[in-house]
């Protein structure tokens, strides 16, 4: 529990820093904020509204205070263009991104671990070499390229999967069909990476003495590899998943653009294009929040996987 508190403190500190940075970034754009944001849309009323909402006519510290107190309450203000609360705009598309990144993460884990296990158990064989080759190919192809290739091949040429959008909101199957290609595009690199990681970790673990102990007592080889060695091999894997989720959400921005999926990525992109900074601010903050939560979850999972990490964390050592 003490460890959780410490982690929460660190997380809060990070969030505070990020908010401060966002606040300053937006305000560091040279020139008159209101005209920059409004561009050609600028009318005297809109200008006045922005100035009032963001407190632009007041002292910078008052502006910061205003910004912080609102954000803490989940109030990111009202969108000047649509006049809807910004938080609603973000919340509307957030699930799409989370589903996309979550599915990609799930695919990465399932296939990455499976392929890693197969490669390790068939070490030195043609299957191992083939998996090695594939993994490296997966890792070294940017998800942007994979997205475009998948789109051209499976949607445009073969018509197996829909081209754009997220699918009908009531139709699960349709939504799934829309999810397949972008999720695969995002996952492929991570599948390759995880397969390599799991293979290496497994091969190392399988030579350890405690594995020999289990063998000496006749424990079946599949249980040794799939349970006892795998659990140890998962510790380094889980550690990189926090970064993994961040990377997945990052690449989701491109996948959402290419597959024309509404989501945080396309929202940020479109908002930057029209210089709608308050929306960018809110979206970025939400992503950072997810990232921090993911890393917190990773630590918790790892401390469940490896009791030695739990102890190290309790004792305040670096795990």
């Amino acid at each position: 529990m003490a460890f959780l508190l410490r982690r929460a403190q660190a997380a809060l500190f990070t969030i505070a820093c990020v908010m401060l940075m966002l606040f300053m970034l937006v305000r560091s754009v040279p020139g008159d904020m209101a005209s920059i944001m409004l561009g050609p849309r600028a009318t005297p009323e809109l200008r006045a509204r922005i100035v009032a909402e963001m407190g632009l006519d007041q002292n910078i510290f008052v502006q910061l205070w205003l910004f912080l107190t609102r954000v803490v309450r989940g109030d990111f203000g009202e969108d000047i263009i649509s006049r809807r609360p910004i938080i609603d705009i973000v919340a509307e598309v957030l699930p799409n991104t989370l589903i996309l990144a979550g599915t990609a993460l799930f695919l990465s884990l399932v296939f990455g671990i499976l392929l890693g296990l197969i490669a390790a158990k068939s070490r030195g064989s043609w299957a191992d070499s083939l998996l090695g080759l594939l993994s490296v190919a997966f890792v070294s192809t940017p998800s942007l390229v994979v997205s475009i290739v998948l789109l051209l091949l499976f949607s445009r040429a073969l018509h197996w999967f829909p081209v754009a959008g997220v699918g009908d909101s009531g139709d699960m199957l349709d939504q799934l069909a829309h999810l397949v290609l972008p999720a695969t595009a995002l996952a492929l690199g991570w599948i390759g990476y995880i397969a390599r990681l799991v293979r290496a970790a497994l091969l190392e673990t399988l030579t350890e003495h405690h594995i020999r102990t289990l063998r000496a007592y006749g424990v079946p080889e599949w249980r040794i590899a799939g349970i006892y060695a795998l659990r140890l091999a998962l510790v380094p894997l889980v550690s990189i998943l926090g970064i993994g989720l961040g990377d997945l959400i990052g690449s989701a921005v491109f996948a959402e653009l290419i597959f024309a999926r509404p989501g945080i990525g396309s929202l940020i992109f479109n908002s930057i294009a029209v210089r709608n900074y308050p929306v960018v601010q809110a979206a970025v903050l939400i992503i950072i929040l997810i990232y921090i939560l993911a890393n917190l979850a990773v630590d918790l999972i790892n401390s469940r996987l490896d009791p030695r990490i739990a102890r190290a964390m309790r004792e305040g050592r670096q795990a």
Binding site: H209, H210, I211, A216, G218, V219, P307
Partner: protein, 328 residues
């Protein structure tokens, strides 16, 4: 029924010529008895142990040997004993700090063994059996231990956990490869007591591998002396201690006396160092007696003639391989 190992030879492949780690080793262990296999580091003790378990490293080849256990004969060159692991064969390892999986509880280890040896029991019953086994090896507070992780236990306690695993497996042959070498001298006696108690409870054959003569003379019924992969002398521990037949055994026992430590302590000390010289190159072909280079009684013939086993008692249980037995 005795466990018998016949003509075991093991090579290791690598760069250059094969390394002949074990050459034509045979021994017999009656049920309820403990055979102490002694030899200095590198003499091939662990190779013998892992060959019997079918757990040798990938670059090892068993070139000859079979094992009789439970009234049946198994061809070691075909790894025929592998299915006996956990079902007749059990092993205790040198380093208890490494021999348990750090991310699984003690209970998980023991119940996993029970999946193998008692597949019909349900999970609750297995847990109860595991707790019982921990109590038998005198681990305090066995119920709590089940949910603890290896790092929460001391080395001696972890070794008891492995002994409990062996107890659950009810082996016909228990192999203990230097079970106390990595432990503090103060816990050596208690760990050895548990191994003896296990032997007496199961009436199984025990192969105790050690580089400590003190351990052998204190706990073992029989003794076998291994040198550079070859068996030099074997027989009842007491008989060898009183009347060593082989110059190597005599030198070892002399060191033991000269150092004059209490019997159970030299497990840490290595009396082999006291004898001058080093193990011969195991890759080179052996001509004559393997011990010739370090022997204080060697004569010219020792370098060319391979000694065969000479009987030293009426029952034929004590024998040694030296050309100069009976020659003064």
């Amino acid at each position: 029924m005795s466990v018998a190992v016949n003509n075991l030879s093991v090579d290791y492949r690598g760069h250059g010529p094969d390394l002949h780690a074990v050459r034509d080793v045979s021994f017999t262990i009656p049920p309820g008895r403990m055979l102490g296999l002694v030899g200095e580091s590198g003499s091939g003790k662990s190779t013998v142990a892992f060959a019997l378990m079918g757990l040798l490293q990938a670059n090892a080849r068993i070139t000859s040997g079979d094992m009789q256990i439970g009234g049946r004969n198994y061809d070691l060159t075909k790894n025929a004993t592998a299915p006996l692991r956990g079902r007749g064969l059990a092993m205790i390892f040198q380093d208890p700090l490494l021999s348990l999986n750090p991310v699984f509880t003690i209970g998980a280890h023991l119940t996993e063994i029970l999946r193998v040896v008692a597949p019909r029991e349900d999970a609750g019953r297995r847990r109860a059996m595991a707790e019982e086994a921990l109590a038998k090896v005198k681990l305090t507070d066995p119920r709590r231990r089940l949910d603890q992780y290896p790092h929460e236990l001391s080395g001696g306690m972890r070794q008891r956990v492995v002994i409990a695993m062996a107890l659950l497996a009810k082996p016909v042959l228990l192999i203990a490869d230097e079970p106390t070498t990595a432990l503090d001298v103060t816990v050596e006696a208690s760990v050895m007591r548990e191994i003896c108690a296990l032997r007496d409870e199961l009436n199984c054959s025990v192969l105790l591998i050690t580089h400590s003569l003190g351990l052998v003379t204190k706990y073992c019924d029989d003794m076998a002396v291994l040198y550079a992969g070859e068996m030099l002398e074997q027989g009842p521990a007491r008989a060898i201690q009183l009347r060593p037949g082989h110059p190597y055994s005599r030198l070892l026992l002399d060191c033991e006396v000269a150092i004059d430590q209490p019997r159970h302590e030299p497990a840490m000390a290595n009396s082999f160092k006291v004898i001058g010289g080093e193990l011969p190159d195991l890759r080179a072909p052996v001509s004559g007696c393997v011990f010739a280079a370090r022997c204080d009684r060697a004569v010219a013939d020792c370098a060319v003639t391979v000694p065969s086993a000479v009987r030293l008692d009426a029952e034929g249980r004590h024998s040694a391989r030296c050309l100069r037995i009976g020659v003064s």
